[in-house]
Symmetry: C2
Subunit: 228 residues, 2 copies
Amino acid sequence: MPDTPEDPLDDNAAAVSPEAVIDLLGALAYGELVAFDRLAADARLAPTLAGRAALAGMAAAEMGHYERLVGRIRELGSDPERAMEPFIVPVDAFHEQTKPSIWLEGLVKAYVGDGFAADFYREIATLLDPVTQKLVLDSLADTGQADFAIREVRAAIAADPVLAGRLALWARRLVGEALSQAQRVTAERDSLTELIIGGSGDLSGVLAMFKRITRAHGDRMTALGLSS
Amino acid sequence: MPDTPEDPLDDNAAAVSPEAVIDLLGALAYGELVAFDRLAADARLAPTLAGRAALAGMAAAEMGHYERLVGRIRELGSDPERAMEPFIVPVDAFHEQTKPSIWLEGLVKAYVGDGFAADFYREIATLLDPVTQKLVLDSLADTGQADFAIREVRAAIAADPVLAGRLALWARRLVGEALSQAQRVTAERDSLTELIIGGSGDLSGVLAMFKRITRAHGDRMTALGLSS
């Protein structure tokens, strides 16, 4: 560890292994490809042409993020397909286990599930070099899903209050499944585990990070009108 | 018809009813939404991660076209959803009748089918006001599908020559189905029929137009290594 922390970003960056950065970019890039896929599939379930076009537009925005992440992986001298490879099985398993059976479940998943993942990546981003950090934060920028989901879910619950219980249960399942897959990934990728623990300082730092993520999750549930 | 044709574009534009322009933009916009949908679904069939990302990127580009077409419909004072509405049934019916059962059929459809439709729209575009004309031509610009399809299809036929016959038959079915749906649309939308016949001058002009479109179709089949 360098002992002259004039620039906390560069200082942190020095502590992150190049392998961990590629892992992170690979996980994010594959996540974008899957987000595209899912939003495109959800677009087909949309009850109106306007809803369909809105979701398709969001899917297209995810591909813009994907291109930038893949570009950065190449810039850093790695192969994007190899960087994504380790994350295909866990990410696909997560989505296989959490297939929305109705339109509203898809919206909750897009908002609550992606919000949870984005918070986690944002925490890690603070440890990266400025260029990669900016890229990661940009790729996590909301493509319009949040407002759209909040509006549609609140309207649906207002029309049929029984939905609130069903959707709250669904959100809990999403988070449980996400944590179980994240555990699998970190168990296999030492570089990512080191990044998270090293970046947080120690285990109490890791716990504080999870507390922040959990609080933000609760805020999203409240915004949807659901109990977390 | 104005008799001072200093500017052939404006002259033609004057002959086109505003209703026909909205019809055309509505048909194109709905076509983009469906193209997005289809490319996104094909991306899921892709045998490699690179192929999947390539098709998802093309799908995203279609949404860029969609946004511009819908923007123009609004500029001209019409409602995009209402403009698209008459084309939902025939366009969906076409795709329902021509669902690719393998990855290569999807590629042939993206190249041959979309190329055929694009040529038709390009012929009509020559009759529009300059702003709408440019927009239509831009929205028909190839998003990378052509090269991608030619490369993949030729490689597949080289590896298994029996495929050539199957894919040639498939392409013939695509064109037959497209013509049958186009006939349905023009039978219902007088403004479009008038646009085509009025723009071509007379029936021999319409025949010349179809000859040009058919020749370009043959060129595409040859590029794929298929007999038309």
